[in-house]
């Protein structure tokens, strides 16, 4: 029996790479976002191959389910035209290529002389080694037990972001009619209905 894992790996990563390429090259932005979703699914499959089920699930639930769909809504609402985005980019091409080239050379220089300290291998080994727990459990242990402080801190940062969004966008406008459900339900017939006797022939 042949081992199909390597074949699957190449299939998934091939699709992932070509989908990512399409994300940046697609003329239509909506197509770009759809290709992004394809890329997310394939990345999730790669995580499954690496026995990281939890991250695979999270990738699908969070990135495909929330982030990509949000992107899709934004892109559809903004109604971006393909040509408009690229206007004026020509003037920056030279500088962009120059800076990109310099960074590439730097990365190569750095990567070629790279080496990892021998101690690092022990320090980075997965904490689950030798333990019979699922990786959801292992991640939970890390997040909620060992890195609880960082987790809470990240939560506070999200709270600050929420406060910031509210502070910067909420406006109290005068004369806005808001629905008050309690008022509506407690309304009595005599408050809303008035019977007027009009003698016939006199008009209103």
């Amino acid at each position: 029996m042949i081992n199909i894992a390597p074949i699957l790996f190449y299939v998934f990563s091939g699709v992932l790479l070509s989908a990512s390429l399409m994300v940046v090259t697609a003329r239509n932005t909506v197509h770009g976002v759809l290709f992004l979703i394809v890329a997310f699914f394939n990345a999730a499959a790669l995580f499954l191959l690496a026995h990281a089920e939890f991250i695979a699930m999270i990738l699908v639930v969070v990135y495909v389910g929330a982030v990509a769909v949000l992107f899709l809504f934004v892109v559809m609402m903004l109604n971006l035209e393909g040509g408009e985005m690229h206007r004026g980019i020509k003037g920056y091409t030279f500088m962009g290529v120059l800076i990109g080239g310099v960074l590439l050379v730097e990365l190569l220089l750095m990567g070629l002389s790279w080496y990892t300290a021998p101690e690092a291998f022990d320090l980075t080994t997965a904490p689950t080694s030798g333990l019979k727990i699922t990786n959801t459990q292992a991640l939970g242990n890390l997040l909620y037990t060992h890195y609880a402080l960082g987790f809470q801190g990240a939560g506070l940062i999200l709270l600050i972001a929420m406060i910031g969004a509210i502070v910067l966008t909420l406006r109290h406008r005068e004369g806005v009619r808001k629905q008050n459900i309690r008022d509506q339900q407690e309304r009595q017939v005599r408050e809303s209905l008035r019977l007027i006797d009009i003698p016939s022939g006199s008009g209103v």
């Binding site: 750095m110 002389s113 790279w114 690092a120 904490p127 890390l142 402080l149 506070l156 509210i166």
Partner: protein
């Protein structure tokens, strides 16, 4: 990794006070029908004061504690930094009340955001792990971006806030990339583990990537302390933001970032001194020169103070460049006195009206006010002389210790540039004094020229304390010196 020890929560009690009171003030604002802004600012000040008291209580023990599995550390160095941060935040929040109301900024979210920013700074200085350091940095950064944009109706404020936000996000990216490179080499984010990994390798065999990572981290921190060439946001943000918010953004966060800078370079990366000290010398020199020359032509007072802050950070970096415990002590003395001078100067600005009734904007607004308010002008003149480094005021001694440390470390050129630029910088500090004392009142002054804003008791207290510290430092220098020495000793270089 599997064994679990219950973390020692008493060590983060000041932080927990801040979190819970911030949440409480927010809840009050959300659920109570009538919440006065005054009340929530007072609550915020009280919470900051309470945690300041706790930190003072914990200081001077000479011990080191590590908790949360090595992610948080407490020693005298960190306590001193926390005291500086909390004292600065308490003073700034308490004195901001009248002008926040004057500028129509009385929003209940303001004190919680200040508390969260302070919490972020505390996490930054006490972090013993890049992860917590990053979370602290982001927490304070995000709160400060929101504070900067609080006056959203004004175009100039929006511009300043946007600039601050985009450059800050860029610095965050650099910082993360730097951390990832350092992690890639050492396999750890904990400072002590990184230090021990570096120690076991021979210096010459260290990969280029580690240095690149360190440089990225340094660039991000240089952005936070607004050292040249990462200073572009500073003058705009100082000028654009309302004065009480500038007083907060420009004061405490820089002290916190500078402490982190000092701690990172002198504690885990001290073995790489030969690699980073030339960079710090460059940052320091460039900041001093730009701070001195770019401010000469400014007419806007807050913009001028922004450039002055850039220059002052250059002097602090001189102490970092020395790379020993003497330098660390000088940095602490400088930071303490700088914070006092900065907050004092802004307390003066906050108590005066200028062309606009909201507050002083230009140097012109100070013309001839010495005849109207002799005491206030005297105090402002004291701060200006002190910032210029004229003896026997506190600012002189701050510069003296930094120069001494630089000369002891044989950084002669740096010290010479420092002395020369401080002479240049004295010009614009004295220009402010001249406007107050030697210029006549304008012939057709704006109706609000030289009038006092409503002086609150808090501003008076802050002003008097700051002035007393600067004036009397030469009589009791040992109070600060010993604290700084103890803090520098805790680094164990």
């Amino acid at each position: 990794m599997t064994s679990f020890y219950w973390p020692d929560f008493t060590l983060i009690l000041p932080e927990m006070i801040l979190v819970f009171s911030a949440l409480l003030i927010l809840m009050e604002g959300a659920f109570l029908k009538q919440v006065s802004f005054r009340h929530s600012v007072h609550c915020g000040t009280l919470a900051l004061g309470l945690s300041l008291g706790l930190c003072l209580f914990q200081f001077e023990t000479g011990q080191t504690w590590v908790t949360f599995e090595g992610q948080i550390k407490q020693d005298d160095f960190i306590f001193f930094a926390k005291i500086l941060v909390l004292a600065g935040a308490t003073a700034t929040l308490s004195m901001s009340l009248p002008s926040m109301i004057k500028e129509n900024l009385s929003r209940v979210e303001y004190p919680p955001l200040v508390l969260f920013a302070t919490l972020g700074m505390l996490l930054m200085v006490e972090a013993n792990d890049f992860l917590i350091l990053f979370i602290g940095l982001e927490m304070q950064g995000l709160s400060l971006y929101v504070l900067a944009a609080l006056h959203r109706e004004h175009l100039r404020v929006s511009e300043a806030a946007l600039k601050y936000f985009i450059l800050g996000a860029f610095a965050t990216g650099l910082f993360l990339y730097g951390i990832s490179l350092i992690y890639g080499f050492s396999g750890a984010t904990n400072f002590e583990v990184i230090a021990s990994v570096i120690r076991t390798e021979s210096i010459n065999a260290l990969p280029l990537g580690l240095f690149v990572g360190l440089v990225f981290v340094m660039a991000a921190l240089a952005f936070k302390v607004s050292a040249v060439p990462f200073h572009m946001w500073t003058p705009d943000v100082y000028e654009g933001c309302p004065t009480p918010i500038t007083a907060f953004i420009g004061g405490v966060p820089k002290v916190a970032a500078m402490v982190v800078f000092l701690r990172l370079l002198l504690s885990p990366f001290i073995l790489l001194y030969g690699e980073w000290y030339s960079l710090i010398i460059f940052l320091s020199m460039a900041s001093m020169v730009v701070g001195a020359f770019a401010a000469l032509r400014q007419t806007n007072l807050k913009r001028l103070l922004g450039y002055s802050a850039i220059g002052q950070m250059g002097y602090v970096l001189m102490g970092v460049a020395a790379g020993n415990s003497e330098g660390a002590q000088a940095v602490f003395v400088y930071l303490t006195l700088y914070l006092v001078m900065f907050i004092g100067t802004f307390a003066c600005l906050l108590s005066l009206k200028g062309k606009t009734p909201e507050g002083v904007q230009d140097i012109e607004d100070l013309k001839g006010i010495a005849t109207l308010h002799p005491k206030l002008s005297f105090i402002l003149a004291v701060f200006m002389f002190s910032l210029a480094g004229i003896p026997p005021l506190g600012g002189f001694f701050a510069k003296l210790y930094v120069f001494k440390a630089a000369i002891a470390a044989e950084l002669f050129w740096l010290a010479i540039v420092g002395v020369l630029t401080s002479v240049v910088a004295a010009y614009y500090y004295l220009k402010i004094v001249k406007a107050m004392y030697f210029d006549d009142l304008p012939e057709t002054p704006a109706p609000s020229h030289g009038q006092l804003l409503v002086l609150s008791a808090e501003i008076t207290v802050v002003l008097n304390i700051c002035a007393a510290i600067i004036l009397l430092f030469f009589m009791f220098p040992n109070v600060v010196l010993e604290m700084a020495q103890r803090a520098a000793f805790a680094l164990r270089i």
